[in-house]
């Protein structure tokens, strides 16, 4: 996609805002937003629109939920924050310090107070053990933090892969369906739509399954549309136009087959230019292509 107008029309920004894109496509949209201020602006507007929608549904949580949820959240995040493992430490630390401070004094009277010296020997051993255990805890804690963030990353990756797979599966089944339509000349009749005198180079075709009433459209070339307009396909039945739906920007650009509305009976198909969303009846002087079955 070269110019920003195409990006705005592509429908990708809406998909981005709704969270439908896989990570690669998201990154692509973000890069486009960085490149074109117009894309950034449009994307921000769409995101803000959804934010408004989300916030319009705000619901004050039931009484008591604040204390429960906030209490559990704070408990959970505190165990993962250094402040709490440090909390029990001051208690054991006090005796440790006292023993160490009194130690030189105890040593000087060693011959007189042998039991005291032995006691302080134990105390020193105990405080060293405690120190080692604190250091050990700190290391374990760091490891735990690392593991937690690794796990969070891995889970994030997994979710992204799962959603990317879903997207690919949907694309695959859409492609298979298109292939089926194209490979079934018995089921689908090919109707060539040629340009009207005003648009001699316009060309498209319709694949019509009369038994199943299915209609697909495939664009070869159509003149660019003014803004706020869409091509609309009409089935002509006994001379009467029946709405067969509007063409997406992608279909208009010739990106692939698009399934249109079901049509029970038709002798011809034609396309006109209508306001976005389509009209109830065709604007005949905008007819671009037409073809008989």
């Amino acid at each position: 996609m070269e110019n920003y107008q195409e990006i705005l029309e592509s429908g990708r920004l809406e998909q981005y805002a709704l969270g439908e894109l896989d990570p690669a496509a998201r990154a692509e949209v973000e890069a486009q937003a960085r490149r074109y201020p117009e894309v950034r602006e449009e994307l921000d507007a769409l995101l803000a629109g959804l934010d408004v929608y989300a916030e319009a549904h705000a619901l004050t949580p039931p009484a008591g939920m604040r204390e429960r949820v906030l209490g559990r959240v704070l408990a959970e995040i505190s165990t993962a924050t250094p402040s709490v493992p440090a909390a029990p430490a001051p208690a054991p630390e006090v005796p440790t310090m006292r023993v160490l401070a009194s130690n030189p004094h105890v040593a000087s009277v060693a011959p007189v107070a042998e039991p005291a010296a032995r006691r302080s020997g134990w105390a020193i051993a105990a405080s060293i053990a405690l120190l080692l255990s604190l250091v050990g805890n700190a290391m374990l804690y760091t490891n735990l933090q690392q593991t937690r963030s690794d796990l969070a990353l891995a889970l994030g990756e997994q979710t992204r892969f799962a959603s990317a797979t879903q997207v690919m599966e949907r694309r695959l089944s859409a492609t298979q369906e298109q292939l089926h339509v194209l490979r079934s000349p018995d089921e689908y009749k090919l109707v060539a739509l040629a340009g009207t005198p005003a648009h001699p180079t316009a060309r498209a075709r319709v694949l019509f399954n009369k038994a199943a009433h299915r209609v697909y459209v495939d664009v070869a070339q159509l003149p660019p549309l003014p803004s706020g307009k869409q091509y609309q396909l009409w089935a002509l039945d006994q001379g009467k136009p029946v709405d067969a739906g509007v063409l997406t920007a992608a279909t208009t650009a010739g990106d692939g087959l698009q399934q249109m509305k079901d049509i029970t009976s038709a002798q011809a198909f034609a396309m006109t230019v209508e306001p976005t969303g389509g009209s109830a009846g065709p604007t005949l002087d905008t007819m671009t292509v037409i073809g008989n079955i």
Partner: protein, 186 residues
């Protein structure tokens, strides 16, 4: 302050909250809850329906936001957009994991619409762009599509299938609806 519309919180206030969360300031979490919980709970509740599950998802979302705040990139969008998406994704994962979708998706949505209507007087804050205004601005067909996409966790193709409409129609409706919504705050 928690009552001002989140969408109009000045960027500076948002940035201050983000940097406190990044600095692992637990009091920032309480402030975050007071500001954002109603909006997040509203979205979650509408997706998962059951109150106890909504509470669980809200809690999960807050913990996730706390742990993932480093990865929030303000240049890609507002904090609100980011946290709503986290909550919405967790809620959608929840309904997918209990295989809730296939059996009761459409009906559930309708149920919750009714529930919302009943709950409305007590819980909607009038200073926000309210549902009434949105209902006034969006035609029912657009509203239905946006509801499926946003609260049903459907993609546009899935919504087209669900509503038995051509994908193009769903896309047009979604697009028009998003444009209308975007205009509400301009």
């Amino acid at each position: 302050m928690p009552d001002e519309p989140l969408i109009s919180i000045p960027t500076a206030a948002e940035a201050a909250l983000v940097s406190r969360l990044r600095a692992r300031d637990e009091t920032a979490m309480t402030e975050f809850y007071d500001r954002y919980s109603a909006a997040l709970y509203g979205v979650i509740q509408r997706i998962v329906k059951a109150e106890d599950e909504a509470e669980d998802v809200l809690q999960e979302a807050l913990v996730k936001i706390w742990h993932a705040i480093e990865s929030y990139d303000p240049s890609k969008g507002r904090l609100f957009t980011w946290v709503v998406n986290i909550s919405r994704n967790l809620a959608i994962d929840k309904i997918r994991s209990r295989q809730h979708r296939v059996s009761s998706r459409t009906q559930g949505l309708d149920d919750s619409l009714a529930a919302q209507r009943q709950a409305a007087p007590a819980t909607f804050r009038p200073e926000h762009v309210g549902l009434q205004e949105i209902t006034k601005q969006l035609v029912p067909e657009q509203r239905q599509v946006i509801d499926l996409l946003y609260f049903g966790g459907f993609t546009q193709s899935e919504a087209a299938e669900e509503l038995n409409l051509p994908l193009g129609t769903v896309k047009t409706r979604a697009r028009t609806a998003l444009k209308v919504l975007a205009k509400l705050i301009r």
